[in-house]
């Protein structure tokens, strides 16, 4: 065995120096680093996390648009393909915001590397904020990608960009938080898949992405109104067509209420260390 000698290490400090200056600056940097890491995580596999959902969105448009363009008129005077675009954008945005936080957390839990995030001096709000913001970002990037490509085939009008932005942000946030909750609650990939396949997928498909709920029988119209996803899609679509099934303010109220409730639950879970700190 060869002896190893490689210079002298600095002596152990009695008090740890913060090179970032104040306590606040240090914790801000901690938060920013976690956000950076989470963004880098999906950016490094962008082909899978961004390009793939964009392709899926475009396929939906081509297939449904082609088949239904001549037969269905969801909004009077609007081509079905153009009607479909905002719904597809919102669906992709929501699904990817959810996928980002949930898959990041479950992967880290299963691989055991979540410990690297739990050992540092990060508060529960910094932890939540970083996972949430990166999910919102992924949702928006995918949504923008789907919009850019589908709008090229069937451009919808843009009437109220502010509503588009508000519902995109609120929707991505809500699904980002739901993803955090699902990621924390699940211990295995198949449990997470249950969330995805039995809650998120049906809720998005039945939210009026592909149709206007006005065309539904009264019973199913009433059921749709219990689905928060319906309000996200409907409000988002209002920003394009200035037409919607319910008033956008009402939709916003429902979405914000759901967001507050989900965020409250997530904060309680992370602050209490539920399934994170044994």
């Amino acid at each position: 065995m060869k002896p190893i000698d490689r210079g002298v290490l600095a002596p152990a400090p009695r008090v740890v120096q913060l090179t970032a200056g104040t306590e606040l600056a240090a914790s801000l940097l901690g938060f920013r680093t976690l956000l950076y890491k989470e963004v880098l995580r999906f950016w490094k596999v962008a082909f899978q996390t961004i390009a793939a959902p964009v392709v899926t969105g475009v396929l939906y448009l081509l297939v449904f648009g082609h088949v239904l363009d001549q037969r269905v008129e969801a909004f009077a005077g609007v081509r079905y393909s153009a009607f479909l675009v905002p719904g597809l954008v919102m669906m992709s945005l929501l699904q990817n915001a959810f996928a980002n936080s949930s898959s990041s957390l479950i992967q880290s839990k299963i691989m055991g590397n979540l410990v690297f995030v739990l050992l540092p001096p990060l508060s529960h709000l910094e932890f939540l904020g970083a996972y949430l913001l990166s999910s919102v970002l992924r949702g928006l990037v995918v949504g923008l990608g789907v919009f850019a490509v589908t709008a090229w085939f069937a451009p919808p009008p843009v009437n109220a960009p502010i509503w588009i932005l508000v519902f995109a942000l609120a929707g991505a946030s809500l699904l980002g938080v739901l993803g955090i909750i699902a990621g924390i609650v699940s211990d295995k990939f198949d449990q997470l898949a249950t969330f995805q396949n039995f809650i998120i997928m049906p809720a998005t498909f039945l939210s009026g992405v592909f149709y206007s709920v006005h065309g539904l029988p009264p019973f199913w119209r009433a059921v749709s109104r219990c689905n928060p996803f319906f309000y996200m899609v409907d409000g988002f679509r209002y920003g394009f067509f200035a037409r919607s099934d319910v008033d956008p303010w009402q939709s916003l109220a429902v979405v914000m209420a759901a967001l507050l409730l989900a965020t409250g639950i997530a904060i309680r879970m992370v602050a209490g260390g539920y399934k994170l700190r044994g």
Binding site: M1, P3, I4, R6, G7, V8, L9, A10, P11, A12, P13, R14, V16, Q17, L18, T19, A20, E23, A25, A26, S27, L29, G30, R32, T33, L34, Y36, K37, L40, R41, K44, V45, S108, M111, G112, N113, V115, F116, V117, L118, L119, P120, P121, L122, S123, G273, R277, G278
Partner: protein, 305 residues
Amino acid sequence: MPVPAIEASHVVKRYPRVTALDDVSLRIEPGEFFGLLGPNGAGKTTLISIVAGLVRASSGRVTVMGHDVVSDYRSARRCLGVVPQELVFDPFFSVRETLRIQSGYFGLTRNDDWIDEVMTNLDLGPKADANMRSLSGGMKRRVLVAQALVHRPPVIVLDEPTAGVDVELRHGLWQFVGRLNRDGHTIVLTTHYLEEAQQMCERIAMLKAGRIVAMEPTRDLLGRLAGVRLALKLRGALPTSLRALVVEETGDHFVLRVSQPAEVESVLATCRAEGCHIDDLEVGHADLEDVFLQVMSDAGEKRAA
């Protein structure tokens, strides 16, 4: 008295079916090299996890450099570097990215000089830009050590750092950890390799079933079993007059303990006189393993009583 590096008072951790820690108190002084020993399931990792804030105690209090690990967790965690037992890594990043990110979590910017120094010391330099996935187990272990050191913590906890590690890395790792300790870092070590604990640790606590059953300077622990250990393989029965000296017996293998080296001769003479043939013979000193077995069996008896 200086602020203790780690202080645990009356720590209890109850899970629904088992009590992992049952009223554990200990105080580790700054600059100490402290060993935490015990069989699997004794509560070593649970104790370390509570110190690190990964697990919350059911009751009791733990401080790191005087900072409560719950109420003042930011300061406590800045003072602590933990090398986890499992070989965990983030497959998305290279070694350097991993270390920079870890550094950022602790609020450190412009930390590259230190990161380079740590990488050099752990022989990670050539792998700096390699993806974590591509590294061998030993290299991944080194990155875990480096990650625990990025924020220059005064207290370093190593949870079974040499489990499944080859001889050369083990040797290099102990040299490095030894130097960190000489530079003033407090080191807390859990290990299954009693030989390592005997060589490295100044003081040792032994845990069994969630309780501390011994906590003494290593030399005092070894002193408990002073004398010479004599292992014999015999052909024929052990002379009855030697029965009292036996500490271990398996088939024709006997381990005897005598108080002085001179007594070895009389044991051999007795064997010869009784016509008992010695096939094999080994003389040694009592080591930590003997003490460990002794302490564990004493603790078992006490509990049974």
